[in-house]
Symmetry: C2
Subunit: 153 residues, 2 copies
């Protein structure tokens, strides 16, 4: 019952419209904190998947399916936080390129989301090699955006 | 297509098992950061809903549906972060009661999740009064946990 509601809720909500944003009035430092929170949680759920792909921890089909589903939700959340009002914020590693080249940034965001969706699909097959390949592709999509739009530490 | 995948992914992942956790090896300070990140994002999506319930911003059915769906995913994420290993961490407002009375904490967590699921259901009806009531109930579930398990600022 709960599972069905969860699923139905997301399907209908997404059907209703994905481009909604109520972020216009939010302070820049809050926007930064919110988008960084998404990154933290993407890390939480991607980390174990990367460990499996690298054979550092045992492959667990159920865990891959669940974490891929979480990542599917999370990977939709950060983008409205990269508002031009945040470009002078200090506590962020986002590079000026995010705002200077929004088309390329959007492309990188879409690549990430496509990679997550692919992992969601592949995770249901239980084909371990294919799943590990999809995790690797997702890792590359993370890296692609970080390489171009995040300051090196 | 993407919408269907999103939905199917969550349904199947949840069917596979919800109690998975790979958090055992994670450092306490990271666990705290991860669970706080969930709270930040719950705030991001609950804030506008509360504004609608209080007639401070216009009611928007599509936005309620989407944000309720996000909250449904998010409200499943923080709990494994309240690991006993984190009870001596400094940068957290979680009270000792979280670890001293885990049964009551679990009950508060389940009340939150039930309130979110109810909002997901009600959000699809488009019944503005019922939706605002469900948002109010969710706010009380947030407050119930904060009152008992979070240090006052």
């Amino acid at each position: 019952m709960n599972k069905k509601l969860f699923s139905a809720g997301l399907a209908l909500a997404l059907g209703a419209g994905c481009a909604l944003s109520a972020q216009a009035q939010v302070k820049p430092e809050i926007l930064v904190k919110q988008r960084q929170s998404v990154m933290v949680l993407q890390g939480k759920y991607f980390g174990p998947l990367a460990g499996m792909a690298q054979n550092k921890i045992p492959y667990n089909k159920d865990q891959v399916m669940l974490y891929a589903a979480y990542l599917d939700a999370l990977s939709r959340m950060p983008w409205d936080g990269f508002d031009p009002s945040t470009k002078d914020e200090k506590n962020t590693r986002a590079l000026p390129a995010v705002y200077a080249d929004p088309g390329k940034f959007k492309e990188a965001a879409e690549r990430l989301q496509a990679s997550v969706r692919n992992l969601v699909t592949v995770s249901h097959t239980g084909d371990e090699a294919a799943v590990k390949g999809a995790i690797g592709d997702l890792g590359k999509a993370c890296g692609n955006c970080h390489d171009n739009f995040r300051q090196k530490q």
